[in-house]
Structure formats: C-alpha cells, structure tokens
Amino acid sequence: MSESLDAFRQEARAWIQESLPEELKSGPRRGAPKEALDRWFQALTGKGWLTPDWPTEYGGGGLDRKQTQVVKQELKKARAPVPPASAFGTRMLGPTLLEFGTEEQKLEFLPQISRHEVQWCQGYSEPGAGSDLASLQTRAVREGDEYVITGQKIWTTGADKADWIFCLVRTDPDAAKHDGISFVLFPMHQPGVKVSPLTLIDGNADFSQVFFDGARAKVAHLIGPENGGWTVAKRLLQHERTTDGGSEGGITGAMKETFVDLVKREVGLRDGVLADATLRQRTAAQEMEANALRLTMRRAGEEARAGQSTRDIGSLGKYRWANMVKAEQDLAMQALGAQGLGWEGPGFEAVELQRTKAWLTTRSDSIWGGTNEVQLNVIAKRVLEIPE
C-alpha cells in the first residue's frame, strides 16, 4: 500500500474515533440514544462520507476509489452506524442519477441524498409484476408538465417513512412490455398516494402496499427518456445487487458476535475442538464461504480495473451472498436449538431473540432485488451466454 494511502487511513481512523459519540462505540446498537445517532449522522454527512466517492459539488466526499474503500473499511471496523434506509438513495438512486440524470436533476437530488435529508423508497414491484417486472401496470398519463399516476405497488420497503419514491410506470400501454416503461421521481406526501403497511414473518412492518390514485409527478423529474425507463431500471437493479461480500449482511450492526462466536459459545469446546463434529464441519465451511465470496468480489474488481475481464459479477455476488447469510443464520439457529425459537419476553435473552428475527429476515435475501432463480437466469444468459 502506498504511503499516502496509509496516511489517509490514519487520518480517516482518527476522524472516526473523534466524531463517533462514545455511546456508539460499544454496547448494543438497538436502543442507542437518538441524540447521539443524530450527532454522528450529521458529522458523517457533513464530511460527505455517506457517499465518499461522489463529487463534492453533489455533496459527496470527492474521494478516489482507493480512498473510498479505506473509508468504508474504517467505518466498518469501527462498527459505525449508517442512517437506516439510506441505501435506496446512496447505493441505488444516486449512482443511477450520476449516470442518467441531467445536471439539474443531479444538483436537485444528489446533495439531499448525500446529506440524508430525504428518505427514498423503490416503487418497482406490483402484485402481478415481481420477477416479471416488465409486466408492471401502474399507469402514468401526461397532463401538461405533469404525469398523473394510477395503480398499485407492493413490498415497498420503507414507504411509510419515505419522502420520495423512484417509481416505474407505464407511459405507453400499446408498446411491447419493455418499451413502454418510464422511470420517475415524485413525492410521497401528496394527495393520491396511500400507504398501507404489511407485516412480514419476522414481525417487521417496514413494508407497504402503495396505492396511487391521481398522484402527480413532474415531467422534469423523469429520469432518462419517456418510455426508455427499462434501461435505467435495470442499471439501478445492478447497483441494488452489488454486495460488498461482507459477512452477515446488514444485520451485523445489531449483533456483536459473529456466528462463529455463537456456535462456539452454544456448542462449547472439548479439548479445544468444537464438541459437535458435524457443526464443526459446517462452521468451517461457512467461514470459508464468507471468505471465498469476499475474495471473489475483490478479485472481480481487480480484474475489471486491470481490463482483464468484463464479465458481470453482480448476480454471482447477490446469489452467493443470499445463500451465505441464510446459511449463517441457519447455523446459528441449529446451535441455539430451542433457545432460537423464542419470539419475545422472558425466557429468552435479547441476543437470542435478535438471532431468531435475523434468521427470519434473511429468508428474504434470496427474494428481494431479484430472486436467486432470477440471478441464475441472468448468469446463464449474460455470463455463460447459453442461448434461450
């Protein structure tokens, strides 16, 4: 590693140590005081480090790729929290706008995203359009410089808390199904938008059905050409599918111990060796799996930058990551036994209840953003080029 990058790492580490409130440096994530979280998010976004690689004129940190990586690594190492539900803006819409947005659109939306002032949600799926997303039916009819929107979305994560939605709508009902779709942004707080929450099997009610009945979007907030939204939509999905290959996905933040720690604690060691030979094999396999995924994502990045390969690794990452996080929670559950079956209240420790919820939550990782089956279809078609 170059000296200057090393120095930058020291700087980044020092800044995080200085800016991260004491209350957030240790102890469980849940129930952390809101005031401390707010203080930290303000510091983070003020520095542009919620989106370290975006240009500074859009509120980003203006860092190069290597520095960005360093910042992400250091934040992760410090287990520093990021604003909940920021991913829709920072990881999906932002990069898509950087590529497809006009300068006015970029200046209007990107700085808000990088400062986490606006909560976004993703209006893709409909009751009749999940894996077959292009068959969506929500209609948008142009009236002057506005679209009038009618239809229904489902599984919309965070819709009840969102200020804005990026939404796929049908603008040409007569065109072939991929050719009549547009990608628009509009506010959720307006007449004609109704949000009705859905509770998932993990007890989480972050999801909603969203009904549009004459909701309005400005034509100026159309991203890409009218009827040309499918290309934009697919690129956003690529961003959504990009995982960094990190273990346990988004749930690590809530849990201090890794699945290996948990298995060791629950199963116990005998003569320095995990007391259950089968679980020992599975635990080792699981650790190797996480490593292999991390290394593969890293290698793919190196190959792409060196111009050695152009193959699309996104679907591989999403598919194997989903399997991995599910298997980790399965393994944790196996080690916990019936202690992993609690729902709430006495008889179960908080960490056990968190594992139970995480086990349920991770069932969705092979569904959202394109199911595992869909990822395999993509690989067969685009990477292996097997004719259909």
Binding site: L295, L384, P387
Partner: protein, 379 residues
C-alpha cells in the same frame, strides 16, 4: 499481493497454454494409458519443461531454480490441468522437491535439486499408508542402527514412485500410531537394497506405486528436518503441495466446465438445444459461481505463500476444501449433462471426471481440510 495475474504471469500462462495444446493434447494422456507406457509420461517433454525453467520455478537460483513463486508455478500447473498432462509436477516438484528444499542440509540440496530442476532427476514422497489421507498415521518404522537408521514398512499411493530416483520416506522414529511427534523424513535411493517398488494402476491413469521397505539402511546425513520433528516439515510441504495441486485442479475445472457448457449449447433433444432447459441452465450457472470461488481462494492461497503470510496454512486448507468439493460437483455434473455419451470411454469428458476424483482425494478431501481449518481457527 493482488488476486489477479500480473502481466508476466499472463505471458507465462499463455506460453504454457500454447506448449501444452501443441505437445500434450488429451489424447496423449489417453494413449499413454492405453499403451500401458512403462513411465506413464514422456521424459523428453519433462526435460523440455526443465529447459524452459518451469520445473525450477519455486527453487532458488543457487540450486538451479528460477526463484519465482506459486503465482508463476500456478500459471503453468493450471495449463497442465487443462490437458491432463501426466508429468510429475506434484511428485517431483511439489512433494519431493519441497521436502528437500525445506528440510535438507545444504550439501544434500546441492546434490539433488539441480538435476530436479533440469528434469533429469525424479522424486517421490512416500507418506500414505492407507486409503484416507491421514498424515500422522504412520506405522513404518525407522530404528537407529549404528550412525544411521533402518527402515521397515509399507507405503501406498506413492505418486510416481515407480520412476522416482529418490524417495522421501516418512517413518516413525518414536511415538504411537497417530502421534504428530515422532515422525522423521529420510531420503532413500530407489535402488537401495531392501526397497521394493510395485506400480499400481490408478483410475485416472496417473502413476502411483506401493513401496515396501525391508530393512533399508539410510545414513544420518539423509534425514530431512529434525529427527522426531518431521511433522512440522511435512505440514509445510503439504501446504505448498496442496496449493500447487489446487492450481492444477482449477485448470481441470475450467476445461471440464467449458466442455460441458459447449455441450449444452450444441446437443439437441426435444427439438431444442438442451441448454435451453432451465433445470440445466441453473445448475450450469451455479457451477460457474463455484468455479469463480475456487479461482479466488486458490489465488489467495498462492499469495499467502508468496507473501509469506501467517495464514498460509488456513488458506491452503480453504483452497483444498473448496477444490475438493468443486471437483466432485463439476466432475459429476459433466458426466450427467453429457448424458449417455459421457459414460463412454471414447468421450474425453470421462477422463476429466476421473482425474478430478483422484485430485479430490489427493492430499486430503473436503472433510479433512475443513477439520484442519477449524483447528487452525481455534475451534
């Protein structure tokens, strides 16, 4: 170190690919098998590889080597794996060569290694005594006799043991049957009195032998590493050999997978290419993800060796556990997806299947290496 090949490694790989495509297509391996060739590979070709500097890649210049790393060696081994070349890299370079490089006193290194690097001297490491890989299970004994030792016992699956000029023998100088302590390594001439070598025919056409030792005398100057402390040496040799073998396996995976993929694109049934059937597409896509994982962990293991990282052993086990499982997966799917034709000896895919199964078990299967990995990780 990076996980990708450097410019120089890419050049080396391309050179090796041209070489093997030209001089060693898969038919060569088949005809050596069918003709029951006494050597089992071509000495002339091996010497040519020596002249190209490939055999000497991991050895220092002082003993005639090229003083390069496992990244470079892997680039060549992968190409061997693609064409199922039967030349003795694993036995002579990875196992025997490393035992001498890491364990022999300087005079012995200078005596043996230059001719190893040039391709004139062949080595074998005799460690195994039964089917499953269990490197501490050694019953062969070495008892002190005058200044030296007397060896007695029987070794199986000694790779290229039938042609080796020198055998490195793992024998017990003390301790009980499964103890790590008490193992010692000895260099023995294949012609020495009391050595009896019997070639065995293996399923993949590779060459292995049973070696019987009946009161073979060997001088104290022919001990590698410390008496009774041989396991530590052996463990390091196995790490290197495992990582080298994995590189070869990745080459075999690539070729096996590409052939199977092509078959899915060519073969018609029900009026369509069988690759249009989702049941096969999904399995092919999954296989590809496994192949990518195998490439990554093997590259990482090579870096671990070349950068002298202290997690090299864990990386070796992670690589071999993955490669063993992938060998089983890709080999099995290759036959299945080729349908009936895959079962014929005439179709080459079966040769790949067999080589992969043999490689899966060589130096420990997935179960062995997960177990070892867990131990290294403290559980």
């Amino acid at each position: 170190m990076a996980l990708i090949l450097t410019e120089d490694q890419l050049i080396l790989r391309d050179m090796a690919r041209t070489f093997f495509d030209e001089k060693s297509p898969v038919e060569r391996m088949r005809s050596l098998r069918d003709e029951k060739d006494a050597t089992g590979f071509h000495r002339a070709l091996w010497k040519e590889m020596g002249e190209l500097g490939w055999i000497g890649i991991p050895f220092p210049e002082a003993v005639g080597g090229a003083d390069m790393g496992y990244g470079e060696l892997g680039a060549v081994l992968g190409e061997c794996g693609r064409v199922l070349a039967p030349e003795p890299f694993v036995s002579t370079v990875l196992l025997g060569g490393n035992a001498i490089l890491l364990g022999a006193p300087e005079p012995l290194q200078k005596e043996l290694l230059p001719e190893v690097c040039s391709g004139e001297r062949l080595l074998a490491l005799a460690f195994q005594e039964r089917g499953r890989f269990a490197p501490t299970e050694v019953e062969t004994t070495a008892t002190r006799e005058g200044d030296g030792f007397s060896l007695r016992g029987e070794k199986t699956f000694v790779l290229d043991g039938h042609v080796a000029d020198q055998l490195v023998i793992v024998a017990r100088t003390s301790g009980g049957r499964e103890d790590r302590d008490g193992l010692s390594l000895f260099v023995v001439d294949a012609q020495a009195a009391g050595v009896e070598i019997q070639r065995t025919e293996m399923v993949d056409g590779r060459n292995a032998a049973t070696v019987r030792l009946d009161g073979v005398t060997v001088g104290a100057d022919r001990v590698l590493g410390d008496v009774d402390g041989g396991f530590a040496l052996l463990d390091r040799v196995f790490d290197r050999a495992t990582i080298g073998l994995c590189a070869e396996m990745v080459g075999t995976f690539e070729e096996t997978f590409e052939r199977t993929l092509q078959y899915l694109k060519d073969r018609e049934q029900f009026g369509v290419k069988i690759g249009t059937f989702q049941a096969l597409r999904h399995r092919a896509a999954h296989m590809w993800t496994e192949l990518e994982f195998a490439r990554s962990v093997v590259r990482d293991a090579q870096s671990a060796l070349d950068d002298d990282r202290d997690d090299a052993s864990a990386c070796a086990s992670a690589a071999k556990a993955r490669c063993s499982d992938v060998a089983h997966l890709i080999g099995g799917e290759a036959i299945q997806m080729h349908g009936g034709i895959g079962m014929t000896d005439e179709e080459e895919i079966g040769l790949f299947f067999k080589r992969l199964k043999a490689a899966e078990f060589t130096l420990g299967d997935g179960i062995y290496h997960r177990d070892r990995f867990a131990g290294l990780r403290g559980y």
